[in-house]
Amino acid sequence: MATPRVLILRAPGANCDLETQFAFELAGARAERIHINQLRASPALLHDFQILVVPGGFTYGDDVAAGKILGIQLRHFLNDALRKFRDDEKLILGICNGFQALLKAGLIVPPDEEGPVATLAHNTSGKFEDRWCHLQAQPGHCPFLKGYTHLYLPVAHGEGRLMTRQSWILHGLRQTGQIVLRYVGPKGEPVDYPGNPAGSQDDIAGLCDITGRVLGLMPHPERHVLPTHHPRWTREGLAAEGDGLLLFRNAVKFFAET
C-alpha cells in the first residue's frame, strides 16, 4: 500500500498543526494542512485521504466553550462526510482541542434523545496547566494505541475534565472498551490531581468511538516524538524515540496492513 495521506484540519485558532504534520511525516505518512473553509466548500476532498486529524489549539478562541464552535461546524456541515470517512475503514484523530471538538460534535459518543452524554469541562483546578502525565493504555481495538501499555505525554489545557451525564454512561463506556487512555501514577497506580490534571471522571484521558477508529485524547502525542522532548532526557538519557511516535506509526501501519 502506498504511503497514507493525512489531512490535518486547520481552523481559526488551531495551532498544533505544524508539529502534528512533523510527527506524521516522521512516522512515514504524507500530511497536508487544509483549512476548514476549504473542506466545507468541498467535502469530497476527504476521498483522497486516509487519516483525518483535528489538531490542538484554541479554535475560535475557545470562546463560549473549548472546541464548541468547531464541533458545531463539524456536525452541521461535515457530519455525513465524516461518518462515511469512518465507515470506509479510515482513521480520525482528535488531539486536545481536536478531542474537545470531536466530542462536542458527537463523533466519539453520539448524543441520545436527552442530549450530549459526555463533555470536557473546566479543570477542577480552575486553571490552564501544562504538565507531563503518566498514561495507561487499554488499546482494545483502537488501532492508534496498538502495542502501548504505558506512555508519558504532556497535557496543556484548561478544559479537559471528562464528565458523563450519568453513571450508567460511564459504565457503558467501560464495557465497550472505549476508555482507552487513563491518567495513572508513575507505577500505574490510580491518581488524584495533579496526576489526573483535569480531575476527569474515572481518570479518563482519551476515548475512542465504538469502532475504535476515532480517537480523542487530551494529552499531546506530537509533543513527545523526539527523544529530546522528554522533560528529563538530560538525566535519564536519550531514548530511541519519544513515547508518542508509535501512535503515529500505528496509524500509518494500519493502512499498510489493510
Binding site: 481559526p12 508539529e19 464548541k68 461546524q73 486553571k127 458523563t164 529530546t228 522533560p231
Partner: protein
Amino acid sequence: MLWEIEIQPVGHDAECQRVEHEWHLLTAGKNGMVHLSHAARGFLIEGELSRQQIEQLVEQLLVDPLVERGKVGRLNEVAADGCLVTVLLKPGVMDPVALSVIESARDFDLTVESVRTFRRYYGGSELAPVQREMLYRKLLCNDAIEQAVEGPLALEHLAIGTPYIFRPVTVPLQGLDDTALIQLSRSGQLSLSLEEMRTIQKHFQEQGRDPYDVELETLAQTWSEHCSHKTLKGEIDFDGQQIRNLLKETIFAATQQLRQRWGAEDWCVSVFEDNAGVVKFDDQVHICFKVETHNHPSAIEPYGGANTGLGGVIRDPLGTGLGARPICNTDVFCFAPPDTLPETLPVGVLHPRRVMQGVVAGVRDYGNRMGIPTVNGAVCFDERYLGNPLVYCGTVGTIRVDRAHKDAHTGDLIVAVGGRTGRDGIHGATFSSIELTSESEKISGGAVQIGNAITEKKLLDVLLQARDENLYSAITDCGAGGFSSAIGEMGAELGAVVHLERAPLKYEGLSYTEIWISESQERMILAVPPARWPALHALCFHEGVEATILGHFEKTGRLRLQYRGHPVGDLDMHFLHEGRPQVVRKATWQPPALPASVKTQPSGAVDCNATLRQILGSWNVCSKEWIIRQYDHEVQGRSVLKPLVGVANDGPGDAAVVLPVLGSTRGVAIGCGINPRLGDLDPYAMAAAAIDEAVRNVVAVGADPRRIALLDNFCWGNTDRPEVLGSLVRAAQACHDLALAYEMPFISGKDSLKNEFHAGDRHIVIPPTLLISALGQIPDVHRCVSMDLKEAGNVLYLVGSTREEMGGSHFNLVHRLEGGVVPQVDQTQAPLIFQALHRAMKQGLVRSCHDLSEGGLAVAVAEMAFAGGLGADLTSLGGSTTPLRDEVLLFAESCTRFVVEVKPDHTSALESLLGSDIPLSRLGQVCKEPRLRAVGASGEWILWAPLNELKEAWQKPLRW
C-alpha cells in the same frame, strides 16, 4: 429583539469561590465573608430572533447542559431575586466571545446583530454600601473597561456608534504664545514640549496655513518618546561630558565595532533598523528577537495591558523583514510585593496581587491562543513598582534567509490586514510618554485595550502563506500610533496617499483623525504590488481575514491624507521624520551617599540555615511554577529544555532551549538578566551584572559564547531629572563596554521612560530597571546541560571567583542591611570563563550546571539539590584565594560564577581543560541523603538542612 441569557454553573462555582478567597485576602479577614450565593455569566443578544430561535442558540451553542443551566428571557426578565450586581464591558471594549457568538450564529442560519457578555453576582445582601463599593471596584470589575450595574439594565439597543458627520478641523497655531502652545499640547494629550510646539508653529507659518488636527496628531505621535526615543537619541550633557546621541555612541557603536572586527565572519543580519533584530542561524533561516514593554496600560488594566503587550510584540517579528514565524515568547514582570497591605495603597492603584494575577492571565490567554510557547521569564518585586508595574514581553522568530529584507516601491498599494479600527488606544503613544497619576485611569481609558488573539492568529496564518508566495514587498505592524506610525514609517523614503474612509470600522462615528491614530490591535500594513493584490485578496478571503486597500505609495515625499475625496493632511515626510528639534538634556551621576547610621553588617553571628530559607522564600527567588504552568511552554513541539527541570519537573531551569527547525539538532537558548536591586547603588554595575546574568543563563545550558546576541530594555523614572538620566547613561556605558568585552552584539532594544507615579503627596519612582535578554545558539542540542543534580558520588566545583560583594544582595535584603560593595564584572576574565565552560560542555564533561545569582552559592546548590532530588555535601566553600567570612562565601552575589557537577572519572579532564587561568574550586560531592550541608571556616557544619524543608520554603510563597 433584545434577549437576555443567564447561565449558572451546576455544582462547583469557581467564580464565587474566587471572589470569597480574594475578598478574604483583600480585607485580611476583617470584613468577614462576602456571602455571595452564586455567580453567573450571560449574554445580551440582539437580532431578529424568535424565542424558539434564541432557545436553539442557547441549547446548542451557549450552554453545556452537563455543567450549566441556562435561562432565557427578554431584557431584565431573567435575573432572579437576590441579584447583587451585573458587570458588563463598557461599550466599545473588545469582547472576543461576543464576536464569536455573532459568527457562530451564522452557522445556524441565524442573524445576530450584536452581542454583549456579562457576569452577574447574587447574594452579598449583608454588605454595607461602602463594602459593596469596595467589592465592585476591587474584585468584581475594573472601572477602566467595565461597569457594575445594580438592578435592571437601562439599555434599549446594543449597537453603538452614530453616523459620522465629516467636518475638517484645523488648529489655529498662528500667533499663539508659549503659554498657549503648552496649554494646547497638554489639553490635546499631545505630550509635545514647548520647543517642539514652536517648531511646528514655524513650519506651518512657512506653509502659510494652520495644520489640520490630524497633522498635529501625526507629528505628536511620530515625535513621541515612545516612537522616536528622543531622549536616548538626543544630546546629553553628562556632568560636562557632551554626548551627541547616547544610543549611537554606546550600544549601537559596540555592535558596529564588533561587526567590523568580525568582517566576513559577521553574523548579524539586520540590527536596530527593523521591528526586531535579526542574526544568522543556519543556511535556511535567520533568527530574530524583540522585547517590548507595556507598562502604563498594564498599570490600569493588567489583563488587557499584558494581553495586548504580548500581542504587540508578536507582531514585531511578524513585521520584520518580510515576516518571521514566532517560535517562542518570553515574559518578565516587576511588581510590588503581593503581601502589600491593602490599606497602604495610594488612590487609583490596583493591589499588586490583582495586578499580578491579571498580567499573568493576560499573557497566558494571548500566548496560549497564538500557539506560541512562553518559555522564559523572570519576576522581580520591589515596593516601588506599586504604581508602575513593568511588563516586558518578547518574541523570537525564524525568518527565511531570502525574506530578511523589505522594500516598499512607488505604486505599491497600502493594504491594511487583520482587525478593524475602533476608538481603542487613542493616544497610546503619547500616553506612554507621560507619568501616571491617580487620575490616569479616568482620562486615559481609551488607551486601555483587550486583545483578540484569534484575529491575530488568523492574520499570522495568512501572512506567512502570503510571504512564501511573494504577495507583498514590505510589511510592518500597527503598534503605537496605529496607521499613522506604520504608514508614515513605511513610506518615509517615498510618500503616500491614504483614503481614510476606506478603513473598515468596528462601529460608526469615528472621525478621520481617530481612524488615523487609533491603536486598535491585530492590524498590519502591507505594501502590495498591484499585480499581486488579487492573489492576496483571495487568500485573505478564504481564511476569513479582512484586507483593504487604503491608498498607495508615491514618490512625492509627502504624506497626503484624504477623507471622501477631501484633503485633510499634507505633510512633508522629511519634516515629519527629521524635523523634530534635538532634545538636549542634562545628566548627572554620583554614588549615593549612605547615612552613617546605615547598617551594613549583621550584628552578631549569622544563622546560615535560617538565612538560606529566608532567601529561598523571598519573592524574587521563590518558585514561579504557578505562573509557568499556566503558560503552554511546549506548543510547536520545539522544546528541548523546559523552564521547569529535574526529577519532579519543578526545578528552576537557567534558560529554555528550543529547536527553530524541527528535524535539525541546532538549537537556541533564551535567557534573561535583571537585577534592579543593584541599580540604586551603582547603575553601571547593575547593567554589567544583568548582562552577565543573561549570558550565564544561556551558557549554563550549552550556548556557544561566540554566538550570543543581546537585547536591552530600559525602564526608568522621569529622565527629565538629571540624576535619573545620569543613572541611565551609566547603564548604557556598561552595555557598550560589556558588549565589546564579551564580543556579544546588542541587536535590538527599547526604552520606557517616565515610570513614575503621583497620588496626593506620594511620588513613587521605580528603581532603574534594565532587562537584558540573551539569544544563544547551540550547535548540537544533545550536548545541552540542565541544572538538576544527576547522580550521587559526582563531584561539585565552583567555577569563578567569589569576592566580598554584598551590596544589593539578597543576604542584605533578608537581614535588612544596606550599602556594601556591589558586584563588579571582571571584564577580562568573564569571557574566558564562558568559553572554558562551553568547551567542557562540548566534551561532555558537565553533568549539571547552574549559575550563581540571587542568594549566591548556597541558593544555587540548594536549587540544584532539590531539583535533582539528591543531597550535597560542601566540604569547602571555595571561590576565593583570600579568606572571606562564611556568609560571604555562601551568599555573596559576585558575577560570572557557576556550580558544575562532574563525574569522578572526568574530574582530572575538567581540571586540566580549565587550566590555571580559570578559577576552579572543588566544593564537595553529590550524595543520596536528601540534605544540604556545608562546612565553614571553623570546620563545623554551618549549613545542615533537609531538602524537603528547603524546597517547601522555596515553593510555598507563590503556591496560589
